[in-house]
C-alpha cells in the first residue's frame, strides 16, 4: 500500500461508486475526499471539476486515476496553452504531437519515429534506475509505433563535479543509461552533458530515441472496435513506481529520498523480448492498437487509447498478472512497473498473439474489452470500482495560464556591465583561458561517458559521439539520419526567449554541419515550479522562442515532454528547454566530419563575430560570472547558414565543418584539431589569424551565434567563399591546418595562443577522468 493510499485507508475506505453494490460502509465526506485529493496534488478547483464530471463523489481509485491523469506529467495543465502555440505541421510530418512518438517521412516509404522524454525526478533519487528506466520508456514509445529503435541520445545536467553527490549522480546515470541500452542492443550515439551548480540537487536526465519504420506499417495507440479484447503483456504489475507521474509533478525536498519506492526498476532483458515480440505482432498485422504502460501505467494507456478512438474501455484489474498478492485496484491502476504493454487485438487473433508472445517467453492476459460508451470502466473481479468518462479524463484537465513576471535579479544580471571582465591582453592569459575551458567538464571530452555506451551495435553508426551531430544510415537507402540534442540553460536563464531560440538554431546548425538538412524537432521542457511567476515567465517566454525559431528554420515540433517542478529548497534549476533535432542526408557519401582532415587545408570562419561575452562559458570558468545578455540570434540568418552548410556539403566543398558555440572560436578550433587524432597520424596543428574587429576575449572566447568553423582544400576555397556570399553570409579565411603533433597557433589581432597540440589534447581529454577516476568519492 502506498503512503497516499494508506492515508486514504485511515479515512472512510472503499468509496463505492453508485452501482458498486455493497453500500454498508459509511459514505465518505466530501471534505475528507478533498483533503485526500489535495494530497494527491489536485487543487480544490480540480476536485470540483471531478465532481461535476462524475456527478457524484469519486471512489478511492478514481481519485488516484484523476490525480495521475491530471498531473502535469500526463495532463500538461500548466503548459498546454503554451504548447499549442508551437508549429507542429509540415510537409514531412506524418505524426505530430499526441501519439506515442512523432514520425516524419524520410522518403522511399521509410518513416523516422523519434521522441525525447525526461526522467529527472527518479534520477535525482535513484540515478541508476532512474536513468535506466528513462531509456526503457523512450524505447517503448518508439517501438509501439512499429518502429525499430536504432539509436538513443541523451541530454544530461549535473551540479559541479567538485561535489561528491554530483559525481555519484553522474556515475549512476551513466551506468544506468549504458546498462539498459547496451543490453537491449540500441546504440547510444550522441548527446550533451552540462555541469553547473544550478543542477546540484536536481539533475536532468532527458533521453531521446530514434526508430525507423515502414510508413505502411505504422502502429498506433488506439482502442477501436467494440468487443475487441484488451491484453496486458510483459512484466507483471508490482508495487513499484506507484504514482510516479504525480511524484514527477512535485518539487523535490529533503524527504524525496523516501520516495524511492516510487522509482521504477528496469529490466532491459524483458524490454528486449517485448521489443522483438511487439515488432513481430505489428509486422504480422495482429494488432488494432498498442501502447506502453508508462507514466500513470495501466490508467493512462487504457484511457488514452480509448480517447484516440473515441471509444470506451472496460477492464478488470483482477485479471492483471501481479507480482504480489493483495494488490488493490488503486495500486494496479497506478503502478508504473516497467516493461509492460497494453494491446488491443481482435477476438480471432488472440491465439496468434499468444503464440508470438509465448515464443518470446512473455506472458499475456486478456484483461478487458473495447466498448462504445466512452467510459473508462474498471472492475475488480467483476465489481465496478471506477467509472469515468474518457474524454474529460484525458483531455478535460483544467489548464492554467499563470502570472508571468521576470525576476528583477535576473534583469539586473543581464544588464550588468561586462567591460571590466572583457579585457584580455597577455598571450599567457589567452593560453591559460583556452586550457582551463578545455579542462572544464562542460567543454572537455565526453569520452569517459560515451565509452561506457555501446555506440556501434546494429552497424548503422556512421558518426558517433564526439561530433556535432550523430549520423546513422537509413537502412540500405544510401541516405542518412542526423541527430543532435542541445540546450543552454544559462542563456535561457538570462533571457528565456533568446536562449530557447538559440537552442533550436544550434541544434539545426549541428545537424547541418554534418551535411544534413534539419527537418523536425522533439523537445523536452525542463523548468521549475510554474506557480511561481518568475518560472512561468521563463516557461512562456522560452516556448515563444522555441516556436519562433522552429518556424524560421522550418522544423516543426512533433512531440516531446514537459518536466516542471524541477526545484529544491535551494531554488529552481536553470530553465532548460532541450531540443532534439532530426536531419536527413541525401547521401552518406556526403557526410561532413567535424574535425580537421589534412595538413594544408584552408580553415575558414563563416558568420559574424560581435563583442558578446554574456552568458559565456568563458565568463563562468574564468571569472565565476553568470551575467550579461546571451548572444543575439538572427533567425533568418540562422536559416541561411543552415542552407549554406547543406549546399556546401552537397557540392562536396567541405573537408570539415564544426559549430562554433560554447567556448567560442578558440575552443571550436581546438576541438577540430583534437578530434582529428583518431583518423590521422595524430592531432593536427593549426596556423590561424583572426582579424575580428572586437576585443581579444570576445574574438577568442565569445559565443556569437550563427557561426561555424570550416576547412576545405585550397582548390575549393574560392567556390566556398562565393557560395557564402550567395547566402549573404560573411566568411573569413583564418589560415591553414598544420602538421600532426604540431603547434596550435591562433592569433586574435595582437593576442596569440601558441601551444603544442598535444597539450590542448591532454587538457581536453583529462576533463572528466581527472574528476571521476577518484572513485572513493562516489558517495550518496
Amino acid at each position: 500500500m502506498t503512503p497516499l493510499e494508506s492515508d486514504l485507508m485511515t479515512s472512510p475506505e472503499a468509496i463505492s461508486p453508485p452501482d458498486a453494490g455493497e453500500s454498508s460502509r459509511p459514505a465518505p465526506e466530501r471534505d475528507d475526499l478533498l483533503s485526500l485529493a489535495i494530497r494527491h496534488g489536485l487543487s480544490e478547483q480540480e476536485f470540483d471539476a471531478i465532481l461535476e464530471i462524475l456527478g457524484r463523489l469519486p471512489s478511492l481509485p478514481e481519485v488516484g486515476v484523476f490525480s495521475a491523469m491530471w498531473s502535469e506529467h500526463c495532463g500538461y495543465k500548466n503548459s498546454r496553452p503554451l504548447l499549442r502555440t508551437l508549429p507542429t505541421t509540415g510537409d514531412l510530418v506524418v505524426e505530430g504531437p499526441g501519439e506515442n512518438a512523432g514520425v516524419i517521412d524520410a522518403g522511399d516509404g521509410w518513416g523516422v519515429a523519434f521522441k525525447i522524454e525526461s526522467h529527472n525526478h527518479p534520477s535525482a533519487v535513484e540515478p541508476y534506475q532512474g536513468a535506466a528506466t528513462g531509456v526503457g520508456g523512450i524505447l517503448r514509445d518508439v517501438f509501439t509505433m512499429g518502429a525499430r529503435p536504432i539509436a538513443v541520445l541523451n541530454s544530461l545536467r549535473f551540479g559541479s563535479l567538485d561535489s561528491a553527490r554530483s559525481r555519484f549522480l553522474l556515475d549512476g546515470v551513466v551506468r544506468g543509461i549504458g546498462d539498459y541500452g547496451n543490453c537491449v542492443g540500441i546504440p547510444t550515439v550522441g548527446g550533451e552533458t552540462v555541469f553547473d551548480p544550478a543542477y546540484e540537487q536536481n539533475p536532468l536526465v532527458n533521453a531521446m530515441c530514434i526508430g525507423v519504420v515502414r510508413l505502411d506499417s505504422l502502429a498506433r495507440g488506439r482502442a477501436d472496435g467494440v468487443g475487441n479484447p484488451v491484453m496486458a503483456v510483459g512484466a507483471r504489475t508490482g508495487r513499484d513506481g506507484i504514482h510516479g507521474a504525480t511524484f514527477a509533478s512535485a518539487e523535490l525536498d529533503e524527504s524525496s529520498h523516501e520516495s524511492r519506492p516510487q522509482v521504477q526498476v528496469g529490466d532491459p532483458f524483458t524490454e528486449k523480448l517485448l521489443l522483438e515480440a511487439s515488432l513481430e505482432l505489428i509486422e504480422r498485422d495482429l494488432l488494432v492498437g498498442i501502447q506502453d504502460m508508462g507514466a500513470a501505467g495501466l490508467t493512462s494507456s487504457a484511457a488514452e487509447m480509448a480517447s484516440r478512438s473515441g471509444s470506451g474501455i472496460d477492464i478488470d484489474v483482477g485479471l492483471v498478472p501481479v507480482r504480489e498478492p493483495d494488490m488493490t485496484p488503486y495500486e494496479i491502476l497506478l503502478s508504473e512497473s516497467q516493461e509492460r504493454m497494453l494491446l488491443v487485438t481482435r477476438p480471432e487473433r488472440v491465439a496468434d498473439v499468444r503464440e508470438v508472445l509465448e515464443r518470446w517467453d512473455l506472458q499475456a492476459a486478456t484483461i478487458g474489452s473495447v466498448t462504445d460508451d466512452g467510459i473508462f470502466r474498471v472492475r475488480e473481479n467483476g465489481q465496478v470500482v471506477a467509472e469515468i468518462p474518457v474524454a474529460p479524463l484525458v483531455d478535460g484537465c483544467p489548464t492554467y495560464t499563470r502570472e508571468a513576471v521576470e525576476s528583477p535579479e535576473i534583469i539586473r544580471l543581464r544588464e550588468l556591465d561586462l567591460t571590466e571582465v572583457s579585457g584580455l591582453n597577455a598571450d599567457s592569459e589567452a593560453e591559460e583561458s583556452l586550457l582551463s575551458l578545455l579542462r572544464s567538464p562542460t567543454i572537455g571530452s565526453r569520452r569517459w561517458i560515451y565509452e561506457q555506451y555501446d555506440t556501434s551495435v546494429r552497424t548503422n553508426t556512421v558518426v558517433g559521439p564526439g561530433s556535432d551531430a550523430a549520423v546513422l544510415r537509413l537502412e540500405d537507402t544510401g541516405r542518412g539520419i542526423a541527430a543532435s540534442v542541445d540546450g543552454n540553460g544559462r542563456y535561457v536563464w538570462l533571457e528565456p526567449r533568446r536562449g530557447a531560440a538559440i537552442a533550436v538554431a544550434e541544434a539545426a546548425r549541428n545537424v547541418a554541419c554534418a551535411g544534413a538538412r534539419p527537418v523536425a524537432v522533439t523537445n523536452c521542457l525542463n523548468f521549475g515550479n510554474p506557480l511561481g511567476a518568475a518560472v512561468y515567465y521563463q516557461l512562456s517566454e522560452a516556448v515563444a522562442g522555441l516556436g519562433e525559431a522552429c518556424e524560421a528554420l522550418g522544423t516543426p515540433v512533433t512531440g516531446g515532454n514537459v518536466s516542471l517542478y524541477n526545484e529544491t529548497p535551494s531554488g529552481p534549476i536553470y530553465p532548460t528547454p532541450v531540443v532534439g533535432m532530426i536531419g536527413l542526408l541525401s547521401s552518406l557519401d556526403r557526410v561532413v566530419p567535424s574535425a580537421f582532415r589534412e595538413t594544408g587545408d584552408v580553415v575558414l570562419l563563416v558568420g559574424d563575430t560581435a563583442e558578446e561575452l554574456g552568458g559565456s562559458e568563458y565568463l563562468a570558468v574564468r571569472h565565476g560570472l553568470v551575467a550579461g545578455a546571451p548572444p543575439e540570434i538572427d533567425l533568418a540568418q540562422a536559416r541561411r547558414l543552415v542552407d549554406f552548410l547543406v549546399r556546401a556539403a552537397e557540392e562536396g566543398l567541405l573537408r570539415s565543418a564544426h559549430d562554433c558555440s560554447d567556448g567560442g572560436l578558440a575552443v571550436a578550433l581546438a576541438e577540430c584539431s583534437i578530434g582529428s587524432a583518431g583518423s590521422t597520424s595524430g592531432p593536427l596543428g593549426l596556423d590561424a589569424q583572426f582579424h575580428s574587429g572586437v576585443g581579444a576575449a570576445a574574438a577568442l572566447f565569445g559565443e556569437s551565434q550563427n557561426r561555424a568553423v570550416l576547412s576545405c582544400t585550397a582548390a575549393e576555397e574560392a567556390r566556398l567563399c562565393e557560395l557564402a556570399s550567395e547566402f549573404d553570409l560573411p566568411i573569413h579565411t583564418l589560415g591553414a591546418v598544420a602538421a600532426p603533433h604540431g603547434r596550435f597557433r591562433l592569433a586574435a589581432d595582437s593576442v596569440k595562443i601558441d601551444l603544442e597540440v598535444g597539450v590542448i589534447q591532454e587538457a581536453f581529454e583529462s576533463a572528466l577522468p581527472a574528476r571521476m577516476e577518484k572513485e572513493a568519492g562516489l558517495t550518496a
Binding site: D361, Q452, D454, V457
Partner: protein
C-alpha cells in the same frame, strides 16, 4: 554457403551477423532459434553477441543449457566451424567448448571503442584469409571481456598456437594501454585444440565497411568461406 546464426533471447548482434554474411560477403544467413535442436543445414555456426538470457547468473551461463547448444556441440565435435563473438565467446567458454573464462573488465566498466588486434594464427577456419601478424581495427563493446585461465592453460594455448587474436597498439605491440579489459597475456581470442571452434571479444561483424569505421572484420567471414570451399574441394 549457409551461415547459421543462433538467436538466444537477448542476443542483439544477430542482426549485425546476418548483415555481415549477406551484405558483407554475399552468403546466406539463416537464423537458428534457441529452442530448436536443428542447425537447418548450416555450414558454419555463429554465436552472436548480446546479453543472452539477460546475462543472468553470469554471461553465457544459461545459454549453454539451451536446446540449440546440443546441436552446436555435436556440430563442433564433428569438426564444423563455430565462431563465438563477444557474448558468443562467453557462451563457448561456459559450455567448455573453449578454455578459460571471461570476467568483468579491469576497471569494472563497460567499454566500447575501436581496438587493434594482431592475428596470431591463420590456422583456423576464421583467420585463413589474413596474414599472420596482420593488425586489424575492430570495435569492442563489453563489460565482461577480461580473459582469464590458469597459468598451465595459458602456457598450453601459447605453445599450441591457440591464441588467435591479441590486443595490441596500432604499431602492433602488446602494451598495458592497448589491453582494454586486463585480459591475461592480452588475449582477445582463442581456439579449441581441434582449431575449429574460435571465440573472440571484438566484433568483426561491426567492421564490414569503411563507412562505419573499418572493414577489417570481413576477413573473418571470408576465411570461413575459403576454408569450407577448400574442404569441399578436398573431399570432392
Amino acid at each position: 554457403m549457409r551461415f547459421g546464426i543462433v538467436r538466444f533471447p537477448g542476443s542483439n548482434c544477430d542482426f549485425d551477423c546476418e548483415r555481415a554474411v549477406r551484405d558483407g560477403i554475399g552468403q546466406e544467413p539463416v537464423v537458428l532459434w534457441h529452442k530448436e535442436e536443428s542447425l537447418l543445414g548450416a555450414d558454419v555456426v555463429l554465436l552472436p553477441g548480446g546479453f543472452s538470457y539477460g546475462d543472468h547468473l553470469r554471461a553465457g551461463a544459461i545459454a549453454r543449457f539451451s536446446p540449440i547448444m546440443k546441436a552446436v556441440r555435436a556440430f563442433a565435435a564433428e569438426g564444423g566451424p563455430v565462431l563465438g563473438i563477444c557474448n558468443g565467446f562467453q557462451i563457448l567458454c561456459e559450455a567448455h567448448l573453449l578454455p578459460g573464462a571471461l570476467i568483468r573488465n579491469r576497471g569494472l566498466r563497460f567499454r566500447c571503442h575501436p581496438v587493434h588486434v594482431r592475428v596470431e594464427s591463420t590456422a583456423t577456419p576464421f583467420t585463413g584469409e589474413y596474414d599472420a601478424g596482420q593488425i586489424l581495427r575492430l570495435p569492442i563493446a563489453h563489460g565482461e571481456g577480461q580473459y582469464v585461465a590458469d597459468e598451465n592453460t595459458l602456457d598450453e594455448l601459447e605453445r599450441d598456437g591457440r591464441v588467435i587474436f591479441r590486443y595490441v597498439n596500432p604499431a602492433g605491440e602488446t602494451t598495458e594501454e592497448a589491453n582494454p579489459n586486463g585480459s591475461a597475456r592480452s588475449i582477445a581470442g582463442v581456439c579449441n585444440a581441434e582449431r575449429n571452434v574460435v571465440g573472440l571479444m571484438p566484433h568483426p561483424e561491426r567492421a564490414i565497411s569503411a563507412m562505419i569505421g573499418s572493414e577489417d572484420g570481413l576477413g573473418v567471414f571470408r576465411s570461413a568461406v575459403a576454408a569450407l570451399t577448400s574442404l569441399q574441394g578436398a573431399t570432392a
